[in-house]
């Protein structure tokens, strides 16, 4: 293993890791927003909204994320959507992971005993008041871990945007392989940095989950 080479190029990989982190954060935020919206549609009183929510989930879970990215980035300009590679990456991955998060959030809401809703409604609380003060505080605790699983998948999924040439960890490795012909070292460097990011995120989620459990 060419340790020397790895020592020489790792600062570039750190920069790339930072791009991966930013990509992940933006994607996660967009994913959560889409997930919240998707879940509220899936649980709506209105059949049309329920249908749209269900369609969203099945389309985005039922096709490869890579194809979704390609359609957005390469196909977008054809229909007047001009995005930078980074923007396309965030939007493509965010909307994709949002479909998974939709199901996570919905699952943690319907997991709450229906007696909770009945008790609140019986006191005269509205549907929304019940959701906000009784259901969501309980399902929020339930959803931390499964959302963590989604976020873990999302971070690994950011590697896909190398295919639309966002200069993140995977793309950077590929680029340095082109000039050094050392795929083992380069992919190892990327892999280790992915691990650090994923491990750190995992710890943060565990911490959140533990904090939420007190009471």
């Amino acid at each position: 293993m060419d340790i020397d080479l790895m020592m020489r190029v790792y600062p570039f990989f750190l920069t790339a890791a930072w791009v991966t982190v930013q990509l992940s954060v933006y994607t996660a935020l967009l994913g959560l927003a889409c997930g919240a919206l998707g879940a509220s549609m899936r649980l709506s009183r209105h059949a049309l909204l329920r249908f749209i929510g269900a369609a969203y989930v099945s389309v985005f879970r039922g096709t490869p994320a890579l194809i979704q990215l390609f359609i957005l980035y390469f196909g977008g300009p054809q229909i007047g959507i001009q995005l930078t590679a980074f923007e396309a990456g965030v939007i493509g991955l965010g909307v994709n992971i949002g479909a998974y998060m939709t199901e996570t959030i919905r699952g943690s809401i319907i997991a709450i005993d229906k007696g909770q809703r009945e008790a609140a409604r019986t006191l005269g609380m509205s549907g929304w008041q019940t959701m906000r003060k009784v259901i969501l505080p309980q399902s929020a605790r339930l959803m931390i871990r499964p959302l963590g699983v989604n976020i873990n998948a999302l971070i690994k999924g950011t590697a896909l945007v190398a295919a639309i040439s966002v200069v993140e960890l995977t793309y950077t490795a590929q680029r340095y392989i082109g000039s050094t012909y050392k795929p083992f070292e380069m992919f190892m460097l990327s892999g280790v940095l992915y691990m650090v990011i994923i491990y750190g995120t995992g710890q943060a989620i565990k911490w959140l989950d533990r904090k939420a459990r007190i009471v």
Partner: protein, 257 residues
């Protein structure tokens, strides 16, 4: 007093789930301060009737009135929601499985709805919680979380939570059925106390002794109809209907076993 307009008035209640007729034209009038027990075998429609009173399980036919207000009005969604949320503030309900909010303390459980719906200050809400918890004998548990309470204590908190809305009627659906036998009495005592304060109550129960001691009237339901109703002395000691007699006989046999 007898020709007084009923306080709570259920008129020709019907309820079906598909082909299954759960309530078949049931009428029930409750006067202010009256305590009515509903007894009957499992699946006879007791819960369905009780839950129809606050439109938790809406009827498929018939009307429910509280004083001069029809509860189960057919209205456009938004108006209905506004209406029913207003109505339900007047009707306390206690469930078999307590349904306390596990993420809130006892204080939080009791004050949540009054704070949100009556716009009272934190101080007022606290005073209200203390008053209601005092009544159910749990003032010393005000800062506990439900997970640390016994079943009997949970149910008493649930009663305090309902009372904090100052309801005009209290509905109990087998409030003591989920409790260990030694915890039943503490809940019964609270309910007796409410009876002494002339709270209007409709109580679905399997405890004939309690019903006999506390209630003014007893309804025996079977297969979605009221088979027989009358004062407890009559229903429990000297029922006319054969089905009532059989039910009570079986029930006694089970209880003594």
């Amino acid at each position: 007093m007898t020709d007084q307009k009923p306080f709570l008035d259920i008129r020709n209640a019907q309820k079906s789930y598909g082909d299954l007729e759960v309530l078949k034209d049931i009428s029930l009038q409750v006067q202010r301060g009256q305590i009515v027990a509903i007894i009957g075998p499992s699946g006879s429609g007791k819960s369905t009737l009780l839950r129809a009173i606050n439109d938790l399980d809406p009827l498929t036919g018939g009307e429910v009135w509280l004083e001069d207000m029809q509860i189960n009005k057919k209205l456009p969604h938004r108006q209905y929601e506004k209406h029913i949320n207003q109505v339900r503030q007047n009707i306390g309900m206690v469930f078999q499985h307590f349904n306390l909010f596990p993420h809130l303390s006892v204080r939080g459980n009791v004050t949540l709805a009054p704070k949100m719906l009556k716009g009272i200050s934190d101080d007022e809400a606290n005073a209200l919680a203390e008053e209601q918890l005092e009544k159910v004998g749990l003032l010393d548990r005000i800062d506990y979380y439900p997970s640390r309470l016994s079943g009997g204590q949970k149910q008493r908190v649930a009663i305090a939570r309902a009372l904090a809305m100052k309801p005009k009627v209290m509905l109990f659906d087998e409030a003591t059925s989920a409790l260990d036998p030694e915890l039943v009495e503490e809940v019964n005592l609270v309910m007796k106390k409410l009876a002494e304060e002339h709270m209007t109550m409709v109580i679905v129960t399997h405890e004939m002794g309690f019903a006999e001691a506390v209630c003014d009237r007893v309804l025996f339901m079977d297969q979605g109809v009221v088979v027989e109703e009358g004062p407890p002395s009559k229903i429990f000691r000297n029922p006319d209907n054969e089905r009532t007699q059989n039910f009570l006989r079986k029930h006694l046999a089970n209880a003594n076993r």
